[in-house]
């Protein structure tokens, strides 16, 4: 049975005036059964795993710790091996990460961020903003594209479905927070809309992901 592997983590504090601290967690992880063809190593990517307050953070980490206990999430050991760990060990890793979290000001000196947006159509027609039937989603996407002076371009998936896509560099905290909210709004498939949004995160100075 395949499992997920956690290679590394970076945690940041995000202050909001007049509010308690929020936390942003990046995790470098991959699957046990997916390999890069050119290196033979397992693929691994940084993901934006969590953004929220402390009262949301620990239940999130506790759940991941439960996956560790069950073997569905393991820690990397060296280049190729992995190791099972009990939930208590996973929690202690994050107690330390929480204590040593850096300010969000450090984020863009350590990582390059971009947001991918993909609106899915069918094999005949892409989904454009004009086709989006849900006003809130359409407005959120339009606002951000206009702010970043970006536009959707037409492409297609491996299976031939037409898509409208945008690849938007994120270079400051305000844009990142907007993009986090947009990611949640865009990634859904409901009547009148089918879309996906995800972050591409690259660690600076590490030669790619």
């Amino acid at each position: 049975m395949s499992f997920s592997i956690e290679y590394n983590r970076k945690m940041f504090t995000v202050p909001f005036p007049g509010d308690v601290l929020s936390y942003l967690l990046l995790i470098k992880m991959g699957d046990s059964n997916v390999y890069e063809t050119h290196t033979g190593l397992r693929t691994r990517d940084w993901i934006l795993a969590f953004f929220g307050k402390e009262y949301e953070f620990w239940p999130f980490i506790g759940k991941r710790g439960g996956y560790c206990e069950g073997g569905g999430l393991q820690k990397a050991k060296g280049w190729k091996e992995t190791e099972w760990m009990p939930i208590e060990q996973y929690l202690s890793i994050y107690r330390k990460a929480f204590r040593t979290a850096k300010s969000i000001e450090n984020l863009f000196s350590l990582f390059d961020f971009s947001l991918w947006i993909e609106l899915r159509g069918n094999k005949e027609l892409p989904m454009t903003l004009d086709n989006v039937k849900i006003p809130d989603k359409k407005a959120a996407i339009e606002l951000f594209l206009n702010k970043k002076s970006q536009a959707l371009s037409v492409s297609s998936t491996y299976y031939g479905e037409k898509t409208s896509e945008a690849h938007i560099p994120i270079t400051n905290i305000d844009d990142l927070l907007t993009a986090i909210a947009l990611r949640g709004a865009v990634s859904s498939s409901v009547e009148g809309f089918s879309g996906h949004a995800w972050f591409l995160i690259e660690e600076k100075g590490k030669g790619g992901r």
Partner: protein
């Protein structure tokens, strides 16, 4: 944001034979912290029925709630690690499945609104619909009647064995009670009560204008 008080927990294991992996049933009894007579008003709910490895995420999530004070155990706050140790002990001392049915009565409450009969506004695919209809035809209801101004038919089915319990739990995942603001047409909930308590039967809810949230 309310604080959950966990009053009790129980673990039962169902094992077909000595060489097969046991299914563990995790139950917790919760109430809102600070409620008067909390122990009497608390309700049992199922955290999961599965092999042990699949149950730990739910335990871990609740442990995280302890850490931030959103869940307390018998009115005492505890750390994640302390909470986890409670469940390690509960799992180690898991009772046999037969003792679950001796101690608890459990029923599936299935609310089907008009939209289901009309075949539209249905949250679920053909497989889920087939499972539901198969379940309804396999078990005799202990109660069936209309609620909510006659727009919804409620069916209550007593669960007396591992197989029916598994089937009902699957249905409660396919038709959860969370799409309150949309036109969800099917909701499946499980009601657990200890046989020493008053019955947790859904019939009592028919006498109320609005059903209480469980």
């Amino acid at each position: 944001m309310g604080i959950i008080a966990e009053i009790d927990r129980a673990v039962f294991q169902f094992q077909e034979n000595s060489s097969s992996e046991a299914d563990l049933l995790l139950l917790v009894k919760d109430c809102a912290a600070g409620e008067d007579a909390c122990a009497a008003t608390g309700s049992w709910k199922c955290l999961g029925l599965s092999w042990e490895y699949a149950l730990w995420p739910a335990i871990g999530e609740r442990a995280g709630l302890c850490e931030v004070g959103r869940l307390i155990v018998r009115n005492i706050s505890c750390t994640m690690e302390e909470y986890i140790s409670l469940f390690r002990m509960a799992i180690k001392k898991a009772q046999r499945g037969a003792e679950f049915f001796a101690r608890f009565s459990v029923s599936a409450v299935i609310d089907i609104s008009e939209g289901y009969a009309q075949g539209d506004i249905y949250k679920g695919g053909d497989y889920e619909r087939e499972c539901l209809e198969s379940f309804l035809s396999a078990y005799e209801p202990v109660f069936q009647g209309q609620i909510k101004d006659g727009l919804t038919v409620r069916t209550e089915i007593a669960l007396n064995d591992h197989e029916s319990l598994c089937a009902a739990l699957s249905l409660s995942h396919y038709f959860p009670d969370k799409y309150k603001e949309t036109a969800q047409t099917v909701i499946v909930k499980l009601l657990f009560s200890e046989r020493t308590d008053k019955p947790a039967a859904a019939e009592s809810e028919f006498n109320q204008v609005a059903c209480a949230e469980r």
